[in-house]
């Protein structure tokens, strides 16, 4: 019986020839990553009592959620993180100044790579699936378990395959729209893996794949994996990867469901407030809805091509009065590239606020929280009630193009009006 990409990576890391849905395995983990919230939030696990770590070189620690520290408690968390990496000899530590949102950092620094099994203390870890890796989030207790033992248990989940065909109809439709369409039409994938295939994958950029893979956390996917095609191989070559240990699905792999999507038929999509599965619709259905804040950023959509697209839409125009337009690059590297390319200048001239690279307002941490009665249209990952501030605020999710167009009008606006007209 053939295996899916998820099954092949788990089998390889369990040291067994084959696995199938339902099996419970112990797998060696290649990379185990924690960010500042592991160290800052009280009552999760007493990490200062850890006395040995399996392999410090397979551990990564980084600061991204609250950088530079917005409160003294966050600063204390960073102090503890620095002491921890020193005590345990963890060399892969990324402090303020060399920071990036965790899922962007793993790609930029080469930790996310084909065929790897990756664990991180963050729910959007499935993002690394854009690199043909099997990656998932764990809570703090299990991260400590993995750091101590170098392995943990996995249950093999059934897999849904999305076969993608064609290419996006215009620059106004990107990976985020594909994901919101999938979530809106097919709902959640709780206790399932999601994999992508079909010739349409080759028409998606790496950042578009990162956006989709990241967002699969929102349909409760276990892993979300893209194949290692020529586009990814070219990316890996530029990154300087010496070896590529990719996995391909077997032709006779067994899937829970196979669904076909024609990328050329997609339109700009949004998620309505408070949850995502079966709660999304075309932008056209809610066009004209008033927004008070527009946010572009996060592990879903804070990449250079996102910022470039946004800059091209707002260039020479002004953000609508009464709208706060915040742009948060996903990494220091992206910030610098956007600066050199002139995108940041274009954004600030249009009235945007460009922030430091951080998770920031996405998780309600800092820089751009909402007051009662306010609505934010955001390219970030979650629209949960109260996530970005007051319990009486609303978050709706969209692509960078929809965000930019809406920032200019102050109302939810179909970006095709700006990019196809």
């Amino acid at each position: 019986m053939g295996m899916t990409m998820s099954e092949k990576i788990l089998a390889r890391h369990a040291g067994v020839p084959a696995v199938s849905a339902g099996d419970i395995l112990t797998c060696r983990v290649d990379v185990a990553v924690c960010h500042d919230m592991f160290f800052t939030v009280a009552g999760q696990i007493d990490f200062e009592r850890i006395n040995r770590i399996a392999d410090p070189d397979r551990c990564v620690v980084l600061l991204d959620h609250a950088v530079p520290a917005p409160t003294a408690k966050d600063a204390l968390g960073a102090v503890k993180a620095r002491a921890f990496v020193k005590k345990h000899g963890i060399k892969n530590f990324y402090d303020v100044g060399e920071h990036a949102v965790i899922h962007q950092l793993l790609v930029e620094e080469g930790f996310a790579a084909p065929g790897r099994l990756i664990a991180a203390g963050d729910s959007h870890t499935c993002a690394a699936g854009a690199m043909n890796a099997a990656a998932r989030g764990f809570g703090p207790a299990e991260m400590v378990y993995i750091w101590c033992k170098g392995e943990t248990w996995y249950q093999v989940s059934p897999t849904i395959l999305y076969n993608l065909h064609g290419s996006f109809p215009s620059r106004a439709v990107t990976g985020k729209d594909l994901f919101l369409y999938i979530a809106g039409v097919y709902g959640d994938a709780t206790n399932m893996n999601v994999e992508f295939g079909g010739e349409g994958v080759g028409n998606m950029t790496i950042p578009q794949r990162q956006s989709v893979a990241t967002m699969c956390a929102e349909i409760n996917a276990e892993f979300a994996i893209f194949p290692c095609d020529s586009v990814l191989r070219e990316f890996l070559e530029e990154r300087g990867d010496q070896e590529v240990d990719a996995v391909d699905p077997d032709p006779d792999a067994v899937y829970y469901a196979i669904r076909d999507i024609d990328l050329s038929s997609l339109t700009p999509y949004v998620a309505l407030p408070h949850y995502i599965p079966n709660n999304c619709c075309p932008v056209a259905d809610v066009a004209g809805t008033e927004v008070h804040q527009v946010l572009v950023g996060s592990c879903s959509n804070g990449r250079l091509e996102d910022i470039a697209l946004v800059a091209s839409i707002v260039k020479g125009k002004r953000v609508a009065r009464g709208v706060r337009f915040i742009v948060t690059p996903a990494s220091q590297k992206i910030y610098l590239e956007a600066l050199k390319a002139g995108y940041l200048e274009t954004l600030v001239e249009a009235g945007a606020v460009v922030t430091n690279a951080t998770c920031g307002a996405c998780y309600g941490g800092h820089m751009g929280l909402l007051g009662p009665g306010e609505r934010c249209l955001s390219t970030t990952t979650r629209n949960f009630k109260a996530r970005m501030g007051d319990a009486e605020s609303e978050v709706m999710l969209c692509s960078p193009a929809t965000a930019a167009a809406s920032a200019l009008t102050g109302r939810i606006t179909d970006p095709r009006e700006f990019l196809e007209g």
């Binding site: 007493d46 006395n51 207790a141 949850y275 996530r387 319990a391």
Partner: protein, 163 residues
Amino acid sequence: MKLKGRVWVFGDEINTDLIFPHSAFRVSPEEQVKLVFSDNRPGWSSLVKPGDILIAGKNFGTGSSRPGAVLLRRLGLACMVADSINGLFYRNAISYGFPALQCPGVSKMFEEGDIAEINMLEGTVTNLRTGETRTGNKLSKLMVDILLAGGIEELLIQEGYMD
């Protein structure tokens, strides 16, 4: 692992940010438990009595890696059962020694205040008022072992990885 207790009923899509809100990130563990569901059901945390049971709909625990399960446990809840549970929340629940069971249809079985009887090893849920019983997903031996140890931290202490 048989548990019996008074039931609290919650709906679908109860996410981690409602269970463990951001306002609980920078306060003490004692203060954290008071903030559970403060955005969707203010005052609820003070009504919970030790041994109570939480019943919910689909996708319980969707969202973040923050360990909401540990707050539910510290609040005194004996366990939770939902139509479906997010995989990361489920792992967190087991890791923090908080019994959680997936049982499709369970949310329709109960009214708030009913008494539930749950056998975690068999995966059965009974409403003692109506007599209705359903069977959900059984826990694997591995997960039972982690739960019986009291969670991952206890296991690591027993095995000498933590002081």
